[in-house]
Symmetry: C2
Subunit: 410 residues, 2 copies
C-alpha cells in the first residue's frame, strides 16, 4: 500500500505519523479469505477457495432489460434519495415469497432492504451487542459473521455442529450458564460446512431457545438453493418473536447489486431502521428498482430451478471425484444444497500445508481454521463447487487428491 | 407498525416479548428530519425541509446509456462479487479529479468506495471511536454525522461556527483540555449552516490541529457546488497525515446510486477496508461500473457547471425573497455554494412553532435544534433551495415570511 503524499509534491513520502485505533479493530480478524482470494486471482488457478455464484447463471440480459425499463419509465425517481426501509414493492415481493415458500406470514413492514445480507450482521451487531455480551455461533461458524460481530466486541460461544444441526445439549447448557443475546446460525446448507439442520433438530433448537431470552438469527443465504427443492421450516414458524431472518438476492439474482434484507419483529425492526439510517441512509435505490422490475417480469422460480440443477450436478461431480480419489482417511460432507463441501483431513494433517502445496499445483482451497472462534479445525477445508465448471472440478479434485495423498505419506 | 404474526395464521397478534437493545441505541437520536420528511410527502407542500438535489439536474438519459453499455460489454463481471476497496478506474478518476481541482496528489490506494458519504462516517466511527472517546464537531453540526458517531458512544465537543469557520480559540482550548480523536467538519457550504471556511481560517485550524494528535475529518459533500467556481484548499494540503476526506457523487451525479468515497492515509485506510468488509463486503459494483462509465464518456465539468448555475440562481431568488419579505429581526446566511440557507429568528421565537404554523400554509422548513448536540438553536431553521423551482421558492418564502411575521407579533 502506498504512503501518504505531501501536497502538490507528486512525491511519495515516508509516514511518520502514528495512529491510534478503537480497540474493537484489534479484535476483528482480518479476512484470511480476502488474502487468499488475492492469491487465487491468477486465471491459471482452479479456485475452490471463494464463495462466488456461477457467472454463467447470472441472467445478464434480463437484468439489463429491467435496468433499461426502470431508467426509461422512472429514472428521475430511481436515481433520487429514497426511504431507509427500502422500495415497498420489493419488500412485498419478499414477503409474498416467504408465504409461498415457507408458509410464513410476514408483513413488508417487518422487512428492511440491506447491502447484501452481510450488512444485516453489522446492523444486528449495532442493535443487539454491547461490549462483553454473550453470543452463540455454530462451530465451525461463518467467517463473515465472526468478523461483523467482532466489531461489537462480544464473547463468542461456539456450538458444535453435527450432520443434522447444532448440538442441542451444548446449546441448552450455554443458554443456562450465560445471558446469551442470540444464537447465530445457517440452518440451510451452512457456510462453511454445507450441512442442513434436520426438521427435528430445528424444532428442538427452537424449543431450547424458547425457554431463554436469546434470539435466533437465521442466516438464510442458501435457502433457495436446496437441490431437492424441499424447503425445511424456518425457526420463525416455531418462535416467531425470537427469530430474525436474513436473506439475499446474491445467490439467486446477482451479488454485484448487493441486495439483501432482514426480517425482524416490529420492535427490533424499529431499531434496525435507526441503525441503517445512521449507517448509510438507505440501500442503492436504483438496484432495488432493477431487482423489483426483474422479479415482476421474469420467472424467478424457473431461474432458481436452473441454478439448483446446475449446482446439484456440480456437487455430484465433485462428490464422485472425492469418493474416487481421496484417501479413505479423508471425510467430507454431502450437502443438500448451497455452494460448499466441508472436508476433514486425518488428524495431524495441516490444511495450511495442503493449501500451500495445492497452490503450487494451481488449485486453491480454503483452510478451515478461521471458522473456529476458539481455535482448532486445522485439518479442515472448505471447498466451493458453485464457481467451477464440471471439467475444472474434475481436474482440480484430481490435483487436490494427489496433494493430500503426498501430504498423508510424508 | 404492524405486529409480528404467528406462523400460518395470517392473523396479526399482539407482541408480548420484551427485547433488550445495546445501550448505544438509546444514545442515537432518531432522525427528526426523517420524521419531518414523512409529513412533507404531500405533493401540495412546498418543502424546504429536505436535502435533495434537483431532480431536473439528474442526467437520466446518459446514466441509462452508461448502464446499458456496462451491462452489454461486461455484465457478467459487473454483476458478480468484487473487491472491498472498489473499482479501481473509479478510484483513479477520483484521484485525478483531486489533482485537477485541488492540486492534491492522492493515490487510488488511499481511496475506498462507500455507500454514499454517510457510510464513511459509520466506518470512521468503527475505526476511530471507542466508547467515551472525545470528538469535536461544528456547532451547529451535521445531523447525519451526529447520528453515525453516536452509535460508537463518544463524548461530543461542539465548536462554535462563525461566518468564516469554526472558532479557533474554542478548538485550541478543547484540544488542550481533552484527548480529542478527531474534529469533524464541512469546510465547503456546511450542512446545516451553508457557511464556507475562509482560506485563512483553514490554515489556522490546520495549524491548531497539527499541534495535537487529533485528525480532521473533512466532509466535502458540497465542494463541487461552489457557485463562484473557486475551490478553497482542503486541509489535506496543510496536514496530509492528519486529514481524512469524505466525498460523494450524490450531489453531482445521482444520490440513488449511493456512491461515495473516503480518502485516508494508508495506515488508516487499512483499518477502514477491514471495517468496510465486515460491514457489507463491498459497495454496489454495478453502480460503481455505471458511474465510471458515465464519468469516462460524459463531460462532468459541464454537468457540474449546469448544477452550479441552477443552484446559484435558486439561491439568489431565495435570498432576494428573504431580504424583501422577512422582518429585519431575522438574519440568514448567504451561502457561496451547496444547498442550504441558515435562518436565525429573534430569540424567543420557536422554530418548532414556525414549523407547525408553516405546515398549515403548505410550506415545510427544518427546525435547527437537532443540529446542536448540547441543546440550543431553538430559534434556527435550515432552508433548502436546491430541490425547489424558482416559482416554488418565491411562493414558499412568501408564505414563510407571513408565518414568521405572525409569530413575531404574537
Amino acid at each position: 500500500m502506498s504512503q501518504p503524499i505531501p501536497p502538490g509534491s507528486g512525491q511519495h513520502q515516508v509516514t511518520t505519523k502514528k495512529y491510534t485505533f478503537a480497540p474493537r479493530m484489534a479484535k476483528t480478524p482480518k479476512s484470511f479469505i480476502r488474502e487468499i482470494l488475492k492469491v487465487t486471482e491468477d486465471p491459471r488457478i482452479i479456485s475452490f477457495a471463494g464463495g462466488l455464484p456461477s457467472p454463467a447463471l447470472i441472467d445478464v440480459d434480463n437484468i439489463a432489460a429491467a435496468a433499461a425499463s426502470v431508467l426509461a419509465k422512472d429514472g428521475r425517481t430511481a436515481l433520487q434519495y429514497s426511504t431507509t426501509e427500502g422500495y415497498r414493492p420489493l419488500r412485498q415481493f419478499i414477503a409474498d415469497r416467504y408465504r409461498k415458500r415457507l408458509g410464513l406470514e410476514i408483513s413488508p413492514d417487518e422487512i428492511l432492504i440491506t447491502n447484501g445480507s452481510q450488512q444485516c450482521l453489522d446492523l444486528l451487531g449495532k442493535v443487539l451487542i454491547n461490549k462483553g455480551d454473550h453470543i452463540a455461533i455454530e462451530r465451525p461458524g461463518y467467517l463473515g459473521a465472526i468478523q461483523a460481530f467482532s466489531l461489537y466486541e462480544p464473547g463468542f460461544h461456539p456450538i458444535l455442529l453435527h450432520e443434522d444441526g447444532p448440538d442441542p445439549a451444548q446449546l441448552a447448557d450455554c443458554l443456562l450458564k450465560f445471558p446469551v443475546r442470540f444464537f447465530y446460525g445457517i440452518p440451510n446448507s451452512q457456510n462453511p460446512s454445507g450441512i442442513t439442520y434436520s426438521e427435528e433438530r430445528r424444532r428442538e433448537i427452537a424449543g431450547i431457545l424458547e425457554k431463554s431470552d436469546a434470539l435466533f438469527i437465521e442466516d438464510d443465504a442458501y435457502g433457495e438453493l436446496n437441490f431437492a427443492g424441499k424447503s425445511l421450516p424456518s425457526l420463525r414458524q416455531f418462535i416467531p418473536e425470537q427469530t430474525i431472518i436474513t436473506g439475499s438476492f446474491s445467490k439467486i439474482l446477482a451479488p454485484g447489486m448487493r441486495m439483501g434484507w432482514v426480517v425482524a419483529p416490529p420492535a427490533i425492526m424499529e431499531q434496525l431502521v435507526i441503525a441503517k439510517q445512521a449507517s448509510d441512509l438507505h440501500s442503492n435505490y436504483l438496484c432495488q428498482r432493477i431487482a423489483a422490475e426483474y422479479l415482476q417480469n421474469q420467472n424467478i422460480d424457473a431461474h432458481i430451478e436452473k441454478i439448483r440443477a446446475s449446482y446439484r450436478k456440480q456437487r455430484d461431480v465433485m462428490i464422485n471425484c472425492m469418493q474416487d480419489l481421496f484417501p479413505d482417511t479423508v471425510s467430507f460432507t454431502r450437502p443438500q444444497g448451497g455452494m460448499f463441501i466441508w472436508v476433514t483431513l486425518p488428524e495431524g494433517i495441516s490444511s495450511m500445508k495442503i493449501f500451500d502445496a495445492a497452490i503450487k499445483e494451481n488449485v486453491a482451497v480454503l483452510p478451515g481454521s478461521p471458522f473456529y472462534v476458539d481455535g482448532g479445525g486445522d485439518n479442515t477445508l472448505r471447498i466451493n463447487f458453485s464457481n467451477s465448471t464440471e471439467d475444472k472440478i474434475r481436474t482440480g479434485i484430481e490435483r487436490l487428491a494427489s496433494v493430500i495423498r503426498k501430504q498423508s505419506q510424508s
